[in-house]
């Protein structure tokens, strides 16, 4: 008997189920191209610096596609993993010669990894088409912008993952994830209003831990009112790092729970 390749096959099987109808991805691709082709470049080119132009282009192109991919990733985690736990497909995978950790990795690579590659592939192509000359000189800033905007998605994804593993129900995990997403969004709006009225940035800094894109907005002065907080890009990087650290801890807990404790 030759050596099998259980990891690749389970990844392929999960990807087949997760991406059967790539409607969301196609829509996001068209949206991203449309954004760049018809509007943002005109606005961006009127901005006073190259850095601001990059910030504007990347942020505005991410808007709806990021939300679409967020829904896609939530759906993949909730139904792809929570649903598989609920129905028993994970039980079938557990009969194959592959460790629990690798099964979870295969499922997450399909649910998140492929979506992330698609998303950034689309974003990068759009950026290359529109401002090819600005990419290499600003690569550090571009990566920071991507990392800051995607941090929030991964954080909520890790929360959905934990819920999906704990309750083993895909639908409920999705509802919880969407509720957390909107709850943080609403809380951010309230905090922004409070910050602009009171001039205190303390709560805003707490929100920036959950969603580092807020720190970027503060850095570029896109937060209305005088909040007295103008973080440097280095500080923004700290917020991004802290957010990814929290997310990594949540993923670590999920892995430990799945591989050591989860009874199926």
């Amino acid at each position: 008997m030759k050596k099998g390749r259980p990891f690749l096959e389970i990844l392929a099987s999960a990807a087949y189920e997760d991406y059967r109808f790539p409607i969301l991805e196609i829509f996001a691709f068209l949206f991203a191209l449309g954004q760049f082709a018809f509007s943002n470049l005109n606005v961006a080119s009127s901005l006073r610096s190259e850095e601001l132009m990059i910030y504007w282009l990347v942020s505005s192109a991410m808007g709806l596609p990021l939300f679409i991919f967020l829904i896609l990733i939530f759906k993949n985690i909730a139904y792809g993993l929570g649903g598989d736990l609920e129905k028993g497909t994970i039980q079938t995978y557990l009969s194959y010669p592959l460790s629990r950790k690798k099964i979870l990795t295969a499922k997450l690579l399909s649910a998140i990894g492929i979506a992330v590659i698609l998303f950034f592939g689309i974003q990068t192509v759009a950026l290359v088409v529109q401002v090819p000359a600005l990419i290499l000189p600003n690569i550090g800033l571009i990566l920071l912008l991507y990392a800051a905007n995607f941090a929030y998605v991964l954080l909520i994804t890790s929360i959905i993952l934990l819920f999906a593993l704990l309750i083993k129900k895909g639908g409920v995990a999705l509802i919880v994830g969407i509720a957390v997403y909107f709850a943080i969004g609403i809380a951010t709006s309230i905090v922004l209003l409070f910050a602009s009225l009171s001039g205190s940035a303390m709560f805003l800094q707490a929100v920036a831990l959950l969603n580092p894109a807020t720190a970027l907005s503060a850095h570029y002065g896109y937060i209305p009112g005088n909040i007295g907080w103008n973080p440097s890009l280095t500080e923004v990087t700290y917020y991004v790092g802290a957010n990814y650290f929290i997310t990594a801890i949540l993923f670590f807990i999920a892995y430990r729970y799945f591989s050591r404790r989860l009874s199926i």
């Binding site: 008997m1 030759k2 050596k3 099998g4 390749r5 259980p6 096959e9 389970i10 392929a12 099987s13 999960a14 087949y16 189920e17 059967r20 598989d84 129905k87 028993g88 497909t89 039980q91 079938t92 557990l94 009969s95 194959y96 010669p97 592959l98 460790s99 629990r100 591989s259 404790r261 009874s263 199926i264």
Partner: protein, 309 residues
């Protein structure tokens, strides 16, 4: 040699004792039946043996190894669950070919096992388009892909029609005879297990109440039991209960099973017709000892009741 050795397994779900200090051995090259009513603890036991559920207490060894997250062990075991779930949108043969690649066996094995369970014609169907019976057969094919040494099946025939059940049991016997596969089959449908099993474990309320070769169990539990067929089982049970040497009676729709004190079987043969005449109950037949797994099961469960009382 015992391929499965479980000692003092315990599993609680909150206050429910699903499995309570259960011990079980499955010998190599045997077909063991795990018998018990719904909720007896069969599935929980099987899941612990398969390493998908952690026991609260006790020890399990399968092929001498701890089954929890044991990758090497999984390559030696085939599993059939009562409700089989596979990725629904893939074609049967494509998915089985994928499973072949998982185990590193030639992809041609996919069609072989589909033909083995008479699903050759459904090879191009999506898994979600299979009927419950076909899905169960597919699960059996899936379990046999890598030619496992041990097959564990939980209520394998529960969703099947009688003909499909019979076919599947024939397949079980064929596998056992031709490929020396050891099988652990759980079921609450007793006649079919008695057809294929050479040993059984009777499980109820999370405990094993009897365990061993079928012939030995028949001998042990049926020696002092008399089966009386009648048209009024409950009335006859009431009459016979008054006899001083009667230890236990169980009644069903076709008659009663009476357990008597040592050496008192002949007395029962003499006294029962007299009592029946008095009570105007018709006796249709009297025979000594258990004749079926179902009867054995009744005796063991009856004894369990006495033990608990």
């Amino acid at each position: 040699m015992a391929l499965i050795n479980a000692e003092n397994l315990t599993k609680h779900y909150g206050i429910v004792h699903a499995v309570d200090n259960l011990s079980l051995q499955v010998e190599e090259d045997s077909i063991m039946g795990l018998i018990g009513p719904n909720g007896a603890g069969k599935t929980t036991t099987i899941k612990m043996i398969l390493g998908v559920l952690k026991p609260d207490d006790g020890l399990i060894k399968v092929f001498g190894e701890n089954p929890w997250d044991n990758v090497n062990l999984r390559a030696k075991i085939g599993v059939v669950y009562e409700k089989a779930f596979f990725p629904p949108h893939q074609k049967t043969v494509s998915y089985l070919e994928r499973v072949c690649r998982i185990y590193g066996v030639p992809e041609s094995r996919a069609k072989e096992v589909l033909a083995l369970v008479n699903l050759g014609e459904a090879s191009d169907r999506q898994i979600k388009a299979l009927s419950a019976g076909m899905l169960q057969k597919f699960a059996v094919a899936h379990a046999l892909i890598h030619k496992p040494k041990l097959v564990i099946a939980d209520e394998m025939t529960a969703n099947l029609d009688p003909i499909a059940r019979s076919d599947l049991l024939d397949l079980v016997l064929k596998l056992h005879e031709q490929e020396n596969v050891t099988l652990l089959l759980s079921s609450h449908i007793l006649p079919e297990l008695s057809r294929v099993c050479d040993s059984v474990a009777i499980i109820n309320r999370g405990k094993v109440w009897a365990h061993g070769k079928l012939e030995e169990l028949y001998e042990k539990f049926s020696a002092k039991t008399v089966r009386i067929s009648t048209d009024q089982p409950e009335k006859l049970a009431e009459l016979v209960k008054a006899l001083p040497y009667v230890e236990n009676i169980t009644a069903d729709s076709r008659g009663i099973s009476v357990k008597v004190s040592e050496g008192k079987e002949d007395n029962l043969y003499e006294d029962t017709p007299k009592l029946a005449r008095k009570g105007q109950v018709k006796i249709l037949g009297i025979e000594s000892g258990s004749t079926s797994l179902e009867e054995l099961y009744r005796q063991v469960i009856a004894q369990e009741g006495e033990t608990q009382a």
